[in-house]
């Protein structure tokens, strides 16, 4: 039997049971839609997540904190001893301790900025490979390096010193070579208050020359400024014998060693995180979500498969006499089987195409909805939403897979009825009313 003739027989048989075909395919439509939507949500979430996590820092960076506030972890001060200890861990390429200056403000002419400068060792900083857009790294204690977003983050100070709020339109400032004034208030320590209950905070002010501006990298770095360690310690009036760091950034020699290094640091009683480990833990969460959703789709598909098997069995029963006729005029068992398998597969394919169209439309709608929500959120908070990728993504391979899968389900559901049809005794079939 030629393929064309097989196709003709299959199609003309299916055309006789349009309603039943539609209802049976509907089951496959539901099953396919469920599975496609689930997989596409998984793909979309993962893509979004990976994009967002890029903002947390380069893939080889691990951020270490003192571990204070973490349940079951005692606060450990990050001092030079710990820095050396971490630097000695295998696969650690560099460690960057930093000291924040808890500042009042950074001023430039009538503009103000409320971003924290960090004191870092510039030699270590250089090892981390941050790209400099223009200028160079600071070489002395009165030079400052700005994160990529800072020149555009200034606002206009009002009379009472209050910030005008976000969006107060200040154009991106050309700051390279300009002098900024950094002001910080040092609050009296408990001992000082004991000695003099009226002790007032004193303000430290210092001018820094902008010598470099960083190229955009991660969110933290983009919004920070960097000065030399000594300058930061001076601003904070820190006793040089009691230097502790707020956080360390550790650079691993490769992405693969990040997890191990992180674990070693955590075992030491410190708190560490990396985009890598967050991605890992979120991935497992999404794997669970996808698993649950996939199981639901699987059940829908199973029910659809039973529906196809039922429809085929019914239609074979009704066409028993026809099968007898076909056998009498010389159809072999194999040819009969092929006709019915073809019908079952077509039900699957139609359902698969329907499911793909349905889930495609559903995904597009959901994406529009999510984007609209994010956009309205962005307007109310004033935070520009980053270019959010679609939450439901249906790549070509998923579309092809969906149709092939649905066809396979149809074919599989048709096997038993088709074999039954093929093995019918021709005489019995011919006598069937």
């Amino acid at each position: 039997m030629r393929f064309r003739d097989l196709a003709f027989l299959v199609v003309s048989n299916l055309r006789r049971m349009k309603l039943r075909l539609a209802l049976t395919s509907l089951g496959v439509v539901i099953g396919t839609s469920a599975i496609v939507l689930m997989v596409s949500l998984g793909i979309g979430l993962q893509a979004n997540l990976t994009a967002e996590l890029g903002d947390l820092g380069a893939a080889t960076h691990i951020t270490v904190m003192g571990g204070g506030g973490m349940p079951g972890v005692e606060f450990t001060s990050l001092n030079d001893e710990i820095v050396d200890e971490i630097a000695a861990i295998e696969h650690v390429e560099a460690v960057l301790p930093s000291v924040p200056v808890y500042l009042d403000k950074i001023e430039y002419k009538k503009y103000v900025l409320y971003s924290m400068p960090y004191g870092v060792n510039m030699e270590d900083f250089a090892k981390f490979g941050y790209e400099i857009e223009e200028g160079r790294l600071p070489r002395n204690d009165s030079e400052i390096l700005l994160g990529a977003m800072l020149p555009a983050s200034f606002s206009v100070a009002s009379e009472d010193g209050m910030m005008m709020g976000p969006g107060s339109t200040v154009p991106e400032l050309d700051l390279l070579g300009r002098r900024l004034e950094v002001a910080t208030s040092i609050y009296p320590t408990e001992q000082e208050i004991e000695a003099d209950p009226n002790a007032q905070p004193r303000q430290n002010k210092q001018k820094f020359t902008v010598v470099g501006i960083l190229a955009p990298s991660d969110m933290m770095t983009d919004q920070s400024a960097y000065i030399s360690m000594d300058a930061a310690l001076d601003m904070n009036d820190t006793d040089r014998r009691k230097v502790t760091y707020e956080q360390l950034i550790v650079k691993a020699d490769s992405v693969d060693s990040v997890t191990d290094i992180e674990k070693t640091i955590m075992d030491r009683g410190l708190y560490a995180y990396s985009s890598q480990s967050m991605l890992e833990s979120l991935k497992s969460v999404f794997l669970i979500i996808q698993g649950v959703l996939g199981a639901l789709g699987g059940i829908a598909m199973l029910v659809a498969a039973l529906g196809i098997a039922n429809t085929m069995t019914m239609s074979i029963y009704e066409r028993t006499r026809e099968i007898g006729i076909m056998k009498a005029v010389g159809a072999s068992n194999r040819q009969i089987k092929r006709v019915f398998l073809g019908e079952a597969a077509i039900i699957g394919v139609l359902g698969g195409i329907g499911g793909l169209l349905f889930s495609g439309a559903g995904a597009a709608l959901a994406n529009l909805f999510v984007k609209a929500m994010l956009a309205s959120q962005a307007t109310s908070t004033g935070v520009a939403s980053s270019d959010t990728a679609s939450f439901f993504q249906i790549p070509v391979w998923l579309a092809i897979f969906a149709i092939v899968f649905a066809a396979g389900i149809g074919l599989l559901s048709g096997v038993l009825p088709a074999v039954r049809a093929a093995n019918l005794d021709p005489l019995t079939a011919l006598r069937h009313e």
Partner: protein, 231 residues
């Protein structure tokens, strides 16, 4: 003359409700090529069973059935299907056309399973339909045709594969006398082309009008073989 059908010691038993029912008991029969043979007998005598076994739709319990030199006894389902496709054409009492297919499609069906090309198929089906006088009804469905026309379509379907043997089980049973005679006349024309014909009927007048030989079966055994009216 070589034999088209050689049957020896043919027995057929059915198991009905746990009991063996013997439908054919040791039938011996030889039909020379090109002959028209009518098988007569009352209902349940086994004449249809004999026809079905010769046509490869049923299998003997014992005995040998050699058709055009091929022994059907040892054939599996697949070879039996091939045999039906190449060697025999069936005509049934109730026509057995597929109701959703046009006359053309019904006649083409054996060629479809034989894997003929669309062109060859269309040509042969049109020729077969023309030979039974239905060239003008080629695109009609069975429901749009009279009983006589439906049986003509069935005859066209039976001969479209150029089989050596045509088997007709009560071909006039569902037709009025005049139409029945027309159908028999048509079958005789098919026989004139060299085809062997095996027809079951319980109508003696029909048998006598068309047969070279008349075989009477009673209770599964051949009771009588006589020359037909045309011999």
């Amino acid at each position: 003359m070589a034999s088209a059908v050689e049957v020896f010691g043919l027995t057929r038993e059915y198991i009905m409700g746990g009991e063996a029912l013997t439908v054919l008991r040791g039938v011996d029969l030889t039909i020379p090529r090109g002959e028209i043979v009518c098988v007569m007998g009352p209902s349940g005598s086994g004449k249809s069973t004999l026809l079905n076994i010769v046509g490869g739709l049923d299998r003997p319990t014992s005995g040998s059935v050699v058709i055009e030199g091929e022994d059907l006894a040892g054939m599996d389902d697949e070879r039996l299907a091939t045999y039906r496709r190449r060697q025999v054409g069936f005509v049934f009492q109730s026509f057995n056309l597929i109701p959703t297919m046009t006359a053309r499609r019904n006649v083409e069906l054996p060629l479809v399973f034989a894997g003929a090309s669309p062109e060859e198929r269309a040509e042969r089906a049109a020729a077969a339909l023309a030979s039974v006088g239905l060239a003008h009804r080629i695109d009609h469905r069975p429901t749009e045709l009279s009983g006589g026309e439906q049986q003509r379509v069935a005859i066209a379907r039976a001969v479209v594969n150029e089989p050596a043997i045509m088997l007709a089980d009560e071909p006039t049973g569902n037709l009025d006398t005049r139409t029945g005679l027309e159908i028999l006349e048509l079958m005789r024309e098919m026989n004139a082309a060299g085809r062997t014909l095996l027809i079951t009927t319980h109508d003696r007048a029909i048998a006598e009008s068309v047969a070279d030989r008349i075989i009477t079966i009673v209770d599964g055994s051949i009771e009588n073989i006589e020359q037909g009216g045309t011999a």
